[in-house]
């Protein structure tokens, strides 16, 4: 009788000490961690590498990879929203850094502030200031970027340009002056794909016409969409569209890139995942088989977009998620993930030897250029604006009227709370 009581007491003491030790030092994590994303197919291996790294660091945690594929994230976002509304958030989910996260989840009070994590890990100096501004609001920093893609890149094949005796245009005016000659030769001056790639082209044209400061002012509601500068951007965009391929809406972005590779088109404006496609899928050599430059008129500006992960309020395994986020921001994880994904590290101290020629040049620009945020990929505008911008684009494509598009965009900006 007595011995058993002693035994019980000892067990309790030991357990208590174990618990204390657990909070003081870092006891091994256990339980589960559910990661929600739309990364499958080409991007699957990169995510898998991150998960493997996490499992190596925290062998006690079982990682659940919840991927919802298709529709460039449309399906995943719909599933995520029903889960969040139903009070069943995943531990961490993939989201485009910036307003796509802020406008939907941060204003709704569904995300935890990560400022402490940023301070503790020294990320406030490891990430460029321009990026931190885009990730934060006055009330906090909301997600950890795992990669950086560039939106404003012009792709071409150097040998083809030499054959056609064409130079890489530095401005859209230059492009418009060389395009008619190309068109006369039966070459499509600018290859274009399905609808979102049209908006993608628009943001490069608008950035060129407005410049970085006015582009920012537009998203802060300080510059009206009806201002002459923005209407002018739509006008330039209309002229550029005249030199694109007729069958654009039926082509994927890969097929548009193919047109450049096959010599059917001279240029293509696409995000730098195109480099990954050409280098990995088509086995082309960066710099020799394909070349790149900043989209015309946007030299010195890096229009970025980023996939990031945050910490939802009520995440079932909060400690495990914090460990996941801590790992994502580390140099090791970023340099594991990005060479596979075909993007650059968000950190300014990444190990460039692990990256190919294109990514090295992009990483150099990332450290030196001014940083602007992408519209189409969720950095500068909330989801409401992004969704309705498709309608604005539709109005422009049907009417080809810059004023009509500018008016519609202003109305959308007011409804979405960007402009007053």
């Amino acid at each position: 009788m007595r011995t058993s009581r002693w035994l019980a007491l000892m067990v309790i003491t030991v357990t208590l000490f174990a618990c204390l030790g657990g909070t003081a030092a870092s006891a091994p994590l256990s339980g589960k961690l559910e990661i929600f994303s739309w990364w499958a197919g080409d991007e699957g291996p990169a995510l898998q590498a991150l998960i493997e790294l996490y499992e190596k660091q925290h062998p006690g945690v079982k990682v659940i990879n919840s991927t919802v594929t298709g529709g460039a994230g449309v399906n995943a976002k719909a599933v995520l929203k029903t889960r969040m509304l139903g009070g069943e958030p995943p531990d961490s989910f993939q989201v485009h850094a910036g307003q796509e996260l802020v406008g939907t989840w941060v204003v709704a009070g569904r995300m935890e502030d990560l400022s402490d994590l940023y301070t503790k890990e020294g990320w406030k100096t490891a990430f460029p200031e321009g990026l931190l501004n885009l990730l934060s609001t006055e009330r906090g920093i909301w997600s950890v970027p795992v990669n950086i893609h560039r939106s404003n890149v012009l792709w071409y094949v150097p040998d083809n340009l030499k054959k056609w005796s064409v130079k890489v245009p530095a401005t859209w005016d230059e492009f418009l002056s060389i395009a008619p000659a190309l068109k006369a030769k039966g070459i499509v001056p600018l290859a274009l794909g399905e609808n979102w790639t049209v908006s993608h082209l628009w943001e490069s044209v608008a950035l060129a016409c407005l410049g970085k400061d006015k582009w920012e002012a537009l998203w802060q509601g300080k510059l009206s969409w009806k201002s002459p500068e923005v209407v002018g951007a739509w006008r330039t965009f209309g002229k550029v569209l005249e030199y694109t391929n007729q069958d654009a809406p039926s082509l994927s972005w890969q097929q548009a890139t193919d047109m450049v590779v096959k010599g059917q088109a001279a240029f293509n404006v696409m995000g730098d995942w195109a480099a990954g496609y050409m280098a990995t899928t088509l086995k082309l050599q960066p710099g020799k088989d394909f070349g790149w430059a900043a989209a015309p008129g946007t030299g010195g500006v890096f229009m970025m977009l980023s996939d990031s992960f945050g910490l939802p309020v009520g995440a079932p395994n909060r400690e495990n998620t914090l460990a996941w986020l801590r790992m994502l921001g580390s140099k090791e994880a970023q340099d594991t993930f990005n060479p596979l994904k075909g993007s650059v590290s968000a950190r300014v101290d990444s190990d460039l030897s692990k990256y190919n020629a294109y990514l090295q040049s992009a990483a150099k620009d990332w450290r030196t250029n001014a940083i602007a945020g992408s519209l189409v990929h969720g950095v500068v505008a909330n989801e409401r604006f992004m969704n309705d911008f498709a309608t604005v684009m539709e109005i422009f494509l049907n009417s080809r009227n810059p004023e009509a598009a500018a008016n519609a965009a202003q109305a959308v900006a007011i409804q979405a709370g960007i402009s007053r």
């Binding site: 449309v74 976002k77 709704a108 969704n387 309608t391």
Partner: protein, 370 residues
């Protein structure tokens, strides 16, 4: 004679499914309709306790008259054209196939299976196959080059051309005109059956509406302050082809079943009376197939009005020329976070489908009682 115990049993047995239906179908329909009358979708729409205000029918007014909702109006028009073309084509092809197979040809079962087979695929599979076939630079468009002609260049799923364009502003005028004619026709029909009270009750308002429309009163009901052209998007032709390919076999099966239930005595009697085979088909078989046609219209019609997956797989969510309200509802709700507006589109879809289905339910209910 039913005993009281049987009746109690019947009610008890039916209660669970009734309760489930009440909650999961009618309850949620009610909730959606309520949501459509609010402003859910402003600011922090996805908060745990979002701020929601009752705004009445503002969302509906916005959809039909707001200049930013041009895509909704075009989608509605597209849905109507798609439904008419798809149902029409499926019926025609289905009847044609059924008639041929009904000739007791050899290997009938094989053909029947072949024609019915596409129906066993999901719309996602059909959509993916046809997206490949309708690529502008491949598939169907290169067929002419097999016989030495230049390849066709039609943009099957992304053409911006429109046929049968009309101005959205004139819509109220024609709706009033149409309603007037329906009411007057109903009045005349009742009068012919000596139901004079009904005739007056519907006929007189019909005349009033007609007068209002003819004097130009209805035309002053402006939905928009500027003209807005809508029409039949030629890009939908590809979707119609794919949908017809999938569903015409099913229509054939319906018609075939109908043809097989026509007693041979009727055909023989007609032949004895000297009818040619064509006359037997035209005056005996076709009229007896009318109920099949009605069922087929209901079944195909509600599929067409709610079509989502086929278009999503064939052209993606953002291809405006092939978009339909169901896709717009999905994007508005789950991408744009405008939950109230999405609910309004859902409610409108429900009303449109009800217009098709309710008369059918009423007639079959009456037939059941008689």
């Amino acid at each position: 004679m039913r005993s009281r115990r049987d009746q109690v049993m019947a009610v008890l047995v039916i209660m669970p499914s009734l309760a489930l239906l009440a909650i999961f179908v009618y309850g949620f329909i009610g909730q959606t309709v309520y949501m459509s009358l609010t402003d859910w979708g402003q600011g922090a729409a996805l908060a745990l306790k979002p701020e929601i205000h009752f705004v009445g029918t503002r969302n509906y007014a916005e959809l039909f008259t707001g200049f930013l909702n041009v895509r909704f109006r075009q989608d509605l028009v597209s849905m109507v054209f798609f439904t008419i073309l798809f149902v029409g084509a499926s019926l025609a092809l289905g009847l044609f196939l059924a008639t041929i197979i009904d000739q007791r040809i050899r290997g009938e079962a094989v053909f029947r299976t072949i024609f019915l087979f596409p129906m066993s695929l999901s719309f996602i599979v059909t959509g993916t196959i046809w997206r490949w076939l309708l690529q502008p630079r491949g598939g169907v468009n290169v067929l002419p080059s097999l016989v030495g002609l230049p390849p066709a260049g039609f943009l099957w799923l992304s053409s911006r051309e429109q046929a049968l364009q009309f101005n959205w502003q004139v819509l109220p005028h024609y709706v009033v005109l149409g309603a007037a004619f329906v009411l007057i026709a109903w009045g005349v029909w009742s009068a012919a059956r000596r139901r004079f009270r009904t005739s007056a009750l519907v006929g007189l308002p019909g005349m009033a509406l007609l007068a209002w429309a003819v004097t130009g009163g209805a035309a002053r009901l402006q939905l928009l302050p500027f003209p807005e052209a809508h029409g039949f998007n030629l890009a939908l032709v590809g979707v119609v082809i794919a949908a017809t390919w999938q569903m015409s076999g099913y229509t054939m099966a319906l018609y075939l079943a109908g043809l097989r239930t026509i007693p041979d005595e009727l055909r023989e009697a007609a032949r004895v009376d000297g009818a040619s085979p064509l006359q037997v088909y035209r005056y005996v078989e076709l009229p007896l197939l009318a109920p099949i046609t009605w069922s087929a219209i209901i079944i195909l019609g509600h599929i067409a009005l709610k079509i989502f997956d086929l278009v999503f797989a064939m052209a993606g969510p953002d291809n405006a020329p092939t978009s339909v309200p169901a896709i717009l509802m999905f994007l508005t709700t789950f991408r744009g976070n405008e939950l109230a507006k999405g609910a309004s589109i859902a409610a409108i879809l429900l009303v449109v489908v009800s217009i098709l289905i309710v008369p059918y339910l009423v007639t079959s209910f009456r037939a059941g009682r008689a």
